[in-house]
């Protein structure tokens, strides 16, 4: 109240006295009787009826309040005003498209946000200003580059003002490296790593000793772009960093460089521990090579520096844990050379070994890190084999899936992967096959090829057919998320998807996932039509 009036000089104004009295209670404090400086106000106050102290106080308060408000003068403008944003050259998307964006952000089709933004980018338009806060908030989980390109100058300007959106940084100039924000420096690093990786390293080194641990952690992560052997000296030093996060990231990056000294050290630690059994046994096992594996006896400081953790997680023996971590650092191709086996034979050998529960996940991670499609294929097949051998039926299969093995499917060559998944989608035998095929779809990055989508569609039709005949169970409702499936199917299948379902099936509960897929496809079609209008 008193902030509104221009009366700053009087230490206790009439109003403040009234509030003070009212707080204590008129019982305890006398009603202020001093005359205010303002003669007019004093005159008005003296005209009030003074029945009892409380009434007097309340009436005075009402009068003073209105008196002061009637003469309200606005505060002066703030000195700290916002920097003016340069005008955008990209045009805004139309209101129809904005309406779809609003529905996406409201949560129903949130997973379609990357697709929407990519479509905007393709047509050279930007998000309307009033939707920028919502898009920036949602953008944490999607590619910063994509978001940067569709928020325009206004969006970058806005992001720079609010620390919560700091991950969208405006690129800092090289000269301003020392004083820029973390986000801005990250953007600069990423940019440099694409064009001039050594420059990025030299910038990092210039401030490394004084940068905050969170900064160092973020910067090291950026070195994954354009990673090459020239980065090794810097990363080796980072292995000694005070912050564990930085050490871990550096180790992980060095493991991605097959020629690095770290990988060589790991090789010396673990490769000799793994040997093919002597040839007499080989002949007996008829082509299934078996391995002799010794566990590592120590995990010294050097090993820990290279990223091997001393203490195992629950359920794993300590030495087996060390073995797993060390094997994980070896590029799969080394095993082929060392054991003189093909990838498929090598995987089979690991599978048949004493420590397969430690070794297979390790080899899978190595296959993913080095993007080795043949190993990935062999591992996925091995996973399938395990599942079948466990003789678990139907939905229960989901409980014991070796997810880390199945996820390597993402690393397979696209055509191989499609063929592999299609083969399993097309099987009409055991329910387990379909469960696994649907599970694999989760790891198949979209957009899918038409062949893959048609294969899925055919499986769905088969399942619905089974259900209407009273056979089969709706287990598949729990496996793949229909929203995800709908977001990855090619739009060209939208019409095909609508037709050809048995009449009595479409209203049944088990049809709901398919209904959802249809709705998602329809939404996407309309969305693209609206964006491109």
């Amino acid at each position: 109240m008193s902030s509104a009036s221009a009366n700053v000089s009087a230490p206790t104004s009439v109003w403040e006295q009234l509030v003070k009295t009212a707080l204590l209670g008129s019982e305890r404090a006398p009603v202020p009787s001093g005359t205010p400086n303002d003669i007019q106000l004093a005159g008005l106050l003296s005209q009030l009826k003074q029945e009892n102290r409380e009434a007097a106080l309340l009436r005075s308060a009402a009068l003073v309040a209105i008196y002061e408000r009637a003469g309200l003068v606005a505060e002066s403008a703030a000195e700290a005003s916002l920097p003016v944003c340069a005008s955008d050259h990209l045009p805004r998307c139309g209101p129809g498209a904005a309406a779809y964006l609003r529905r996406i952000l409201e949560g129903q089709y949130r997973l379609l946000l990357p697709e929407f933004l990519a479509a905007l980018r393709a047509i050279g338009k930007r998000v309307p200003e009033e939707m920028l806060p919502a898009v920036l908030a949602a953008a944490k989980t999607i590619s910063a580059n994509l978001v940067l390109e569709v928020i325009g100058r206004r969006g970058q300007w806005l992001a720079g003002l609010n620390p919560e959106w700091g991950f969208i940084g405006t690129q800092v100039a090289v000269e301003d490296w020392e004083t820029g924000t973390r986000a801005g420096r990250v953007v600069l690093l990423r940019h440099l790593r694409n064009s001039n990786p050594e420059k990025a390293i030299s910038l990092l080194e210039s401030t490394w000793n004084t940068d905050a641990p969170e900064d160092r952690s973020a910067f090291v992560a950026e070195l994954q772009h354009g990673l090459c052997l020239q980065d090794e000296p810097f990363l080796e030093k980072a292995l000694d960093d005070r912050r564990k996060e930085v050490r871990k990231k550096a180790a992980s990056l060095l493991m991605s460089l097959p020629q690095s000294a770290l990988v060589e050290r790991m090789r010396q630690r673990v490769v000799p521990l793994v040997r093919l059994e002597s040839s007499s046994r080989l002949k007996k096992n008829l082509g299934k090579p078996s391995l002799q594996i010794d566990l590592p006896q120590e995990c010294d400081d050097a090993a820990q520096r290279d990223g091997v953790e001393l203490n195992p997680p629950q359920g794993l023996g300590q030495k087996a844990w060390w073995l797993q971590q060390m094997v994980c650092a070896i590029p799969p191709q080394r095993w082929e050379n060392h054991l003189q086996l093909s990838p498929e034979q090598a995987v089979a050998a690991f599978d048949g070994s004493e420590f397969r529960s430690a070794l297979l996940p390790a080899v899978a991670e190595a296959a993913r890190r080095h993007r080795n499609p043949r190993w990935a294929g062999a591992l996925v097949l091995t996973a399938f084999q395990h599942i079948k051998e466990s003789k678990v039926k139907g939905m229960a299969v989901l409980g014991g899936l070796p997810n880390d093995l199945l996820d390597t499917v993402a690393v397979m060559e696209e055509s191989d992967r499609d063929a592999f998944v299609i083969e399993h989608l097309d099987r009409r035998g055991a329910a387990a096959d379909s469960v696994l095929a649907l599970r694999l779809l989760d790891s198949c990055p979209g957009p899918w090829s038409r062949a893959l989508a048609e294969s899925l569609l055919s499986l769905l039709r088969h399942m619905v057919g089974q259900m209407t005949e009273g056979k089969g169970s709706p287990f598949w409702m729990g496996i793949a998320d229909p929203h995800t499936l709908g977001s990855q199917m090619p739009l060209s299948l939208a019409d095909q998807l609508q037709e050809g379902w048995p009449e009595d099936a479409t209203s049944k509960p088990f049809f709901k996932p398919i209904q959802t897929i249809m709705e998602v496809l329809q939404f996407r079609s309309k969305m693209h039509k609206e964006i491109n209008r």
């Binding site: 509030v19 009637a70 505060e75 703030a78 009033e130 609010n162 479409t506």
Partner: protein, 446 residues
């Protein structure tokens, strides 16, 4: 009026309904879709055997559906409306089926009967009956007046007691402390006073400066009670205001018979809040020629969203009638053209000038709660962590710290001045709409 998808979705009682309705947008689920100038209809396949009959009276719009949903409008009605907006061509039937014709005719008949009844109520048959009716009304009114007088005295003593013992203890009071007093006022047939006491209850929780605000609100309430005790000595428009504040309502039917103000009305913005289980929508308008400000209130209970037919960012020629009183803000739409045109600018003023409009109104009606301010050339700015709007004349207006669309407004501004419309409560400003680069944007959750 041509409804857009967005406008239709706003009719949904909650987000779950809107989502469910969108799930029904598949034409495969619908059969017998048809529409004419008055109505739209269709059959929707649900999970049961028999499809649900859903229909819309487009004149209002009003919805009817044979599904068992308690929400209003139900997801079928919403979906039907959305389909009408998006897939008009699929509505191939033109002849109303029997179940539609019956309902529509029934509605027309009921509307006619209502009008007849009102006319009958206003024109009793004999002079004797008229005298009787008037005597009855006078007796009821006298009884009410007595009760209100008692309630007012009781409330004055209650307020004085609070001041005697001290306001410092107010922040620790149980909700029942306030609620008991409010309930007594409802019994005294002064629901307006009950509402003001419930508003008092919320003040201690408003953060720094609550003591000032509480004394302010209490003293204004006391002033109202003082004024009521002297009501006959006050000018008649002020009497209307006081009666209205205490809870006497206006006969809206009779009000519509008065002459209103014909003008090109601009819909500036709106805000819907929940007040005691009642949804209250405040819609602010401004007359382009008369420069008159108007507030249209629409109410809805529980699951329904209030619908006024007024869309912020549009303007239309129409006639508004104002409720009697000194304040002259609250109004009803008596007549209007169906067609609306978009707005690309707001009748903005500098901050100081806008505030002077407020304070001039305040001295005529001290109990003013919210006032519409339309600002020109306002830029969001901040000082010591508090956000405000600053204008070219070097003045600023503090923003409500709870204003949730702050970043939306900053994004629209880009550091440049924009036009902003919002509600001012005497201390803080809540922006509701803005015009930036010739585009009207309603600042809403997005």
């Amino acid at each position: 009026m041509n409804w857009t998808t967005e406008q239709i979705l706003k009719l949904a009682p909650d987000a779950a309904s809107a989502k469910a309705a969108q799930g029904l947008l598949n034409l495969r689920k619908w059969s017998g879709l048809g529409a004419d100038e008055r109505a739209a209809w269709g059959l929707c396949q649900g999970s049961g055997a028999k499809p649900y009959q859903s229909q819309i009276d487009l004149a209002e719009p009003a919805f009817k559906c044979s599904c068992p949903s308690r929400k209003f409008p139900c997801k079928h009605g919403l979906a039907l409306f959305l389909l009408l907006a998006e897939e008009r061509a699929s509505f191939t039937q033109t002849q109303q089926p029997e179940w539609v014709a019956t309902w529509i005719t029934g509605r027309s008949q009921r509307a006619e009967r209502r009008q007849e009844k009102e006319a009958a109520a206003q024109a009793p048959k004999t002079a004797e009956q008229q005298l009787e009716a008037e005597a009855r009304a006078a007796k009821t009114e006298a009884r009410r007046l007595e009760r209100v007088k008692d309630g007012v005295e009781d409330l004055m003593i209650w307020l004085e007691d609070l001041v005697r013992t001290g306001l410092a203890s107010m922040s620790g009071k149980e909700p029942s402390f306030w609620e008991n007093q409010a309930a007594r006022l409802v019994d005294a047939q002064a629901p307006g006073l009950a509402r003001l006491v419930r508003k008092l209850a919320m003040v201690p929780a408003t953060g720094a400066g609550w003591q000032d605000r509480l004394l302010h609100s209490m003293s204004q309430l006391y002033l109202l009670l003082d004024a009521f005790q002297r009501i006959e000595s006050l000018p008649s428009p002020v009497q209307e205001d006081i009666r209205s504040l205490l809870g006497w309502t206006e006969d809206q039917g009779a009000l519509k018979d008065h002459d209103g103000i014909k003008d090109e009305w601009i819909v500036l913005g709106q805000r819907t809040i929940l007040e005691d289980r009642l949804q209250v929508q405040r819609c602010w308008l401004h007359g382009s020629n008369s420069q008159r400000d108007a507030l249209v209130l629409t109410f809805a209970y529980g699951n329904q969203a209030p619908y006024s037919g007024l869309m912020p960012g549009t303007r239309f020629p129409g006639e508004l009638v104002f409720f009697p009183g000194e304040l002259g803000l609250r109004a009803l739409v008596k007549a209007r053209a169906e067609h609306t045109a978009p707005m690309d600018s707001l009748p903005g003023r500098p901050i100081q000038g806008a505030l002077e409009g407020w304070s001039a109104t305040l001295v005529r009606h001290p109990w003013l709660e919210l006032y519409p301010l339309t600002l020109a050339n306002a830029t969001p700015s901040h000082r010591a962590g508090r956000w405000m709007l600053s204008d070219a004349a070097g003045k600023s207006l503090p923003l409500d710290p709870a204003f949730s669309q702050l970043w939306q407004m900053i994004a629209l501004s880009g550091g440049n001045p924009i036009e902003v419309f919002g509600e001012w409560d005497g201390e803080r400003f809540v922006p509701l709409s803005a015009v930036a680069e010739g585009r009207f944007v309603e600042l809403s959750v997005c």
